[in-house]
């Protein structure tokens, strides 16, 4: 049992789940067993809409595995006020900008599903 297991269970269902404290409503990230605000152990899942912006990004590559083929790693600022690490897809490196709007989609990579983000139309 790990504190982040619920996140991956959500991903398998095509959802981006985060922890919302059942006592005080504080959103939690990264996943953990206790609310840092009120110390409650009770929480309920919050499904994020999957819209956000790029807070930081890099090209991840390494001469050895697993990133022999470069991929874009980004810190995504979700509109719910949380941040998460993911990958940027369907965009060229030269076109990536900080604060660009992105949206989630789910893709199979290496035999398992991962949440990925792609450019979204500016709302």
């Amino acid at each position: 049992m790990r504190d982040q297991d619920f996140f991956w269970e959500g991903v398998r269902q095509g959802k981006l789940l985060f922890q919302k404290c059942a006592a005080c409503g504080t959103l939690r990230q990264p996943p953990g067993p206790m609310c840092p605000h009120c110390q409650s152990l009770a929480w309920e899942p919050l499904e994020a809409a999957g819209r956000g912006t790029v807070a930081a990004w890099i090209v991840s590559k390494h001469p050895s595995q697993p990133d022999d083929n470069p991929r874009l790693v980004a810190l995504i600022a979700l509109e719910e006020g949380l941040r998460m690490i993911s990958n940027l897809r369907e965009v060229e490196e030269a076109d990536v900008r900080l604060d660009m709007p992105v949206e989630v989609f789910f893709a199979e990579i290496g035999g398992a599903v991962l949440p990925q983000f792609r450019p979204a139309a500016r709302v």
């Binding site: 990230q29 991840s60 790693v73 998460m84 599903v113």
Partner: protein, 383 residues
């Protein structure tokens, strides 16, 4: 101004050579460095009754005790996490001496970090980065360079610091290493063009020459009371202030979840404690030794410690302040980029040498040295 900690002093330093392939065990490196520190101080193994190292150090205190010939240890402590705790080793040792828990504490850090387990390689191997394993690793975020590049970028974007700007610091560090015979990059200075021609490690933030080395080596220091220091071989180096800070919502590596990504909150926090303990301020510091896993942290540290204002580090460096002839020489030994990466503890040895007046690039009239590891720091001074 005086605290209990300031009644302690560093009385001995020792090290092995810094290399890429030591050809001997990590324990041997720890013992060689520790023996050298004892000899430097004029102490014998029987004088040591405390040991401090990193949680990550592979050398068991009892093994070091056994082979070094220490009779009994009454104080053992380890700093958590990684290099952020480099200066915390002195705080732990000084606290033991000041409280009476130990009379003389050996600090050691030794590893084969290039020929053995390399910090720069993907963490956890392929399994650690497999899909659905981890909220960071599974997306490819699995080396320190990638992890830190992602949180240095918001600072750089906010203040207009480009990768080419970083060369200004790296050239200085490598110039200092070039005239330091202990440095791996002794006699190997670089130019801005060399920096810009070095390959990307993490585009668009870090090139090869922005990254600290991977090194094999061992270092050691001995801390005892300031009173006792007066009777020993070397001029004692007083611990004027020593502190750690870990501010809430902080993650040592994956530091992506606090409010403002462009601020390293620990730096002003440890600074406030340093100035309060010592009665000194930024203008009183003659030499600053700053832990740089990667070059951008030097910029954040110069600002976080108050040597210049937010966003001003780029101009501060361009104006020549941090070179050997500047108002605040930084990383006079070449830093972890130029001298070697012994997890930042080699910066403490340089601090001691600058106070003693025996550094390879000695800064004249050095009274106060800051040794900052961003999450821990000390100010060293004369006895």
């Amino acid at each position: 101004m005086s605290t209990l900690l300031s009644r302690t002093a560093i009385v001995g330093i020792g090290q092995t050579e810094f290399s890429k392939n030591s050809g001997r065990s990590e324990l041997q490196l720890a013992l060689e460095a520790s023996k050298a520190a004892l000899d430097d101080a004029g102490l014998s193994p029987g004088d040591i009754d405390g040991a401090v190292t990193f949680k990550l150090d592979s050398n068991d205190e009892l093994d070091v005790m056994h082979y070094l010939g220490i009779r009994e240890l009454r104080w053992c402590a380890r700093t958590p996490g990684g290099g952020g705790g480099a200066s915390a080793t002195v705080q732990l040792a000084a606290a033991a001496v000041a409280s009476g828990a130990a009379k003389a504490v050996l600090i050691y850090r030794a590893f084969n970090e290039r020929s053995g387990r390399r910090f720069g390689q993907p963490m956890g191997g392929y399994g650690g980065g497999a899909p659905q394993q981890d909220i960071h690793f599974s997306f490819g975020l699995d080396t320190p360079a990638k992890i830190y590049a992602l949180w240095y970028q918001p600072y750089m974007a906010k203040y207009g610091v480009t990768n080419e700007d970083l060369a200004q610091y790296v050239v200085i560090a490598r110039q200092n290493a070039a005239t330091n015979p202990r440095a791996w990059f002794y006699r190997k200075p670089i130019t801005v063009a060399d920096h810009q021609n070095s390959r990307w490690i993490v585009e668009p933030v870090l090139r090869l020459l922005d990254c600290c080395q991977e090194s094999d080596g061992g270092v050691a220091l001995i801390v005892t009371s300031a009173d006792r220091a007066k009777d020993l071989l070397q001029p004692g180096v007083r611990v004027l202030a020593a502190t750690q800070s870990h501010v809430n919502s902080s993650q040592e590596m994956f530091n992506y979840y606090r409010q403002d990504l462009s601020v390293f909150e620990e730096l002003p926090a440890i600074s406030a404690q340093l100035w309060a303990q010592s009665g000194l301020g930024p203008k009183d510091i003659d030499v600053a030794l700053i832990y740089e896993n990667f070059s951008p942290i030097v910029y954040m540290a110069l600002e976080g410690h108050g040597f210049c204002g937010p966003g001003e580090a780029k101009g501060f460096i361009q104006d020549g302040h941090i070179g050997l002839g500047g108002s605040l020489p930084v990383n006079t030994h070449g830093g972890l980029l130029g001298e070697g990466y012994i997890h930042g503890v080699n910066n403490l040895l340089e601090g001691v040498r600058q106070i003693r007046g025996t550094a390879a690039n000695q800064i004249a009239d050095t009274e106060h040295v800051l040794v900052s590891a961003a999450r821990s720091a000390v100010i060293l001074g004369k006895l």
